[in-house]
Amino acid sequence: MEITMVVDGERVELTVEPRHTLADVLREQCGRTGTHVGCEHGVCGACTVLVDDEPVRSCLMFAVQADGSTVRTVEGLESDDGTLHPLQEAFVAHHGLQCGFCTPGMLMTALHLLDTHPEPDRETIRREMSGNICRCTGYMGIVDAVEEAARLR
């Protein structure tokens, strides 16, 4: 099936198989391997992207369903000259990642969190990020990073 999406500001026209998820198509047909796939059934959050500005699990949405949508992935976070997004800077500064597998989903979830909760306390950050699983960090660095990014806004 033919679909059109805007991915990180770039218009793409693709032919996709209906059973392929948005995560698959982003990774394999759009070259955006920044979006990670962990569990492939909605529980780990690694594949979280924004579709029309709302967070979604890209493993639970077929790419055909994103036809006509605007998709934002972790690869659209940095600015054109390569400057990292303040959230990315904060993750680096606070050791918000170790292996980095969960990081794309963490960043996209945090981005939406900061949009909807401009001054989150640590409890809110923990609650809103609880759908994203990290096997490495123990979460403290992630919460610290999101807290700082919120403060700097």
């Binding site: 099936m1 198989e17 209906p18 059973r19 392929h20 998820t21 698959d24 492939e40 059934h41 909605g42 529980v43 959050g45 979280t48 579709v51 709302e54 967070p55 979604v56 699990r57 493993c59 639970l60 949405m61 077929f62 055909v64 369903q65 979830t109 939406h112 969190l113 909807t116 923990r126 609650r127 809103e128 609880s130 759908g131």
Partner: protein
Amino acid sequence: MKCAPFEYVRPTSVDEVLAALVAADGEGKILAGGQSLVPVMALRMARPAVIVDINRVEGLAAVERDGDTVHVGALVRHRTLAEQSAHPLLAEAARHIGHAAIRTRGTAGGSIAHADPAAELPVVAVATGATVTAAGARGDRWVAADDLFAGPLMTTLDADEMITGLDVPVPTRWGFAGFARRHGDFALVTVVVAEVRGQVRIAVGGVGAVPLRARAAEAAIGEPVERVAQLVGDELNPTGDLHGSAEFRRGVAVEMARRALASAGI
């Protein structure tokens, strides 16, 4: 894992959805938010031959108050339900569903149709005495929530019927209490108390195959809250699993009932 191949159709009206389901001859499946169906397909526990995507069907996404009832279209997302103010109990229940990314996509109709015994919206539907509208080739029919849930992940709807919406009475007093081990997890036990048209109804989720009415406790309304809550526990016959033993669940149910009754002011 990846889903097995399927034929994909994207109708824009209820009639077209029904025609597609009939044409699929029992091999078709409605796709709404996909937050329950896609995992099941990814695990290959379901391999529908035809996916009927209802996300672009018009007119199913509104929350509207009509007298003492709120109509919720099948495609109303959990997020919208959580943010609306026409039905505060539904808003509270929707806030307990999963995480933001799940609430972006998951729908009211899908949650009811999926009939997960631990899901929040079916418990609210039973507690309030909601009515589900099911469209089928033979026209619409209206099913009371008490008659809808047949077992875990099973309803009394036919495979070629589609939920178009639900009418949920607005309770004059209500209480919602759920216990989950972690934020966003399915609740171990959910208790909803709702006073509708002068009658107090109590429904419990997570401890049986379907949301259960606690009728003995309902009959004891007026007695001390602790006593009514104890009756809720006495009526249950929970089974234990790795998330909690039967006795633990019963204990949690009594406490959730106490909290729900107290917050309803009953």
